[in-house]
Amino acid sequence: MNVPLAYDAKTKQLSLPKEAERVVPLVKLEVDQLNTLVQELIANGSDVPPPPTPENFNKDMSKMIKKLYEGGVQAFKQGKYEESAKQFNIGVAMIARRTKFESFQGTLQELGLFLMSRADAYLKTKNYLGAFNDADMLIGMMMVTPDNFLRRGVANYLLGNYEDARADYQRGLSFDPDNQRLTTELEIVLDKILEENGDYL
């Protein structure tokens, strides 16, 4: 790595020359991540980062995040879907601002709740790509519940990806074969696929 790096003792940050930032974006990313970790370590106060236990999870931040979640749910119930999506968005951004050495499991649980609700709000505000992204991430995070497959399936249907929607509903049904909502949605999408193929009678 032949990049001229500079260390500033005052800010305790590393920096790259402007020209180098463009040439080696990966080094820039590493330097930025290191600087963030340094800031978080200094802000934490202890000489080494604390172990990632539930006790060391930032409680103040949890309270703020919980408030945002409740606000979002309230707005959703009142039919203010745009407002609700906005609240969930801020919540997700806040979760991403937690210190990197906090418990991953705790962060994952918080994020799961927000993504589920944001996907619903996005479906209501017709942001189907956003809803698909959220539901897809939820499934990627191993939150493989029938509800999440339903979310991704509905988003896929409304995006015109009928085969993907069918696969999602069927996968959801494999977890809960008696799920009435999934069954109805599956019937609708199967009809749609027949229609698209010109086989609809």
Binding site: M1, L5, Y7, A9, K12, L14, L26, V27, E30, V31, Q33, L34, L37, V38, L41, I42, D47, V48, P51, P52, K66, Y69, V73, F76, K77, V92, A96, R98, K100, F101, E102, F104, T107, Q109, L111, L113, M116, S117, D120, L123, K124, K126, Y128, L129, F132, N133, M137, G140, D147, R151, Y157, L158, L159, G160, N161, R181, T184, E185, I188, K192
Partner: protein, 230 residues
């Protein structure tokens, strides 16, 4: 008879065995040097599985300044900067070790079935060995900053590794949306909010709307309840 045998004894100089040992040793040393040089050359030709480890280079750069006796107060990095750099190095080492563990069964299977050659399999083994050495080096470095920190170091580095992966995934969401909109030719923003997906027939549309009403609202309530319970 004794006289005859006595005559046959050849006088050997004291230098002969020494010369013999000397020649043998020289041959051995030359062979060893050449063998090692060739081995190093072969190792240097190995194409690494992973790209350049920037976290490692950054740490070495900082360490050089940290241990430099001529460094001034301004140029000497703070101890927390060193610890953070070591943590970042640990994070990358964990990420690479996890990746290697993940691909190990595939490599073994492919090698057993003869689908990859000796060279590629040796590359993989070399990378695994190298990673092991890197982890040992990190442990040693860790002990220089605080005795006993190593017990906490790797769990913390692992959390950082997972949290960073989660943030990377979150940060890539907008880019994913753009890619999908091109892939699926779904340009809602460009068509003034009109849904690009073919509108469902009236009966189905109503059915979907009804379903969505049923699906979404209780889901939010449910998650809220779940959180309250948690």
């Amino acid at each position: 008879m004794d006289e005859e045998t006595a005559e046959k004894i050849i006088k050997v100089s004291i230098w002969t065995p020494l010369l013999y040992v000397g020649v043998l040793m020289t041959c051995f040393i030359v062979f060893s040097v050449l063998y090692r040089r060739r081995k190093v050359e072969n190792l240097s030709k190995i194409e690494p599985i992973f790209p350049e480890n920037h976290t490692h280079s950054l740490y070495l750069f900082l360490k050089q300044q940290y241990t430099n006796p001529d460094a001034t107060k301004e140029s000497k990095p703070h101890e927390k900067v060193m610890k953070a750099a070591l943590l970042r190095r640990g994070v990358e080492a964990i990420r690479r070790s996890l990746k290697l563990k993940e691909i190990e069964p595939s490599f073994n299977r492919l090698y057993q079935e003869g689908l990859i050659g000796d060279e590629m399999f040796k590359n993989f083994q070399f990378q695994a060995k190298f990673q092991e050495m890197d982890l040992k080096d990190i442990v040693q470095e860790c002990e220089t900053y605080k005795k006993g920190w190593v017990n906490q170091f790797f769990p913390v580095a692992q959390e950082i590794c997972f949290n960073e992966a989660l943030r990377r995934r979150l940060a890539s969401m907008d880019e994913r949306s753009k890619t999908f909109s091109i892939q699926w030719q779904y340009f809602v923003d460009k068509s003034e909010g009109a849904p690009a997906a073919p509108a469902p027939v009236e009966k189905e549309k109503n059915a979907i709307e009804n379903q969505k009403e049923k699906v979404e609202e209780p889901t939010v309530e449910k998650t809220e309840e779940a959180k309250v319970k948690a």
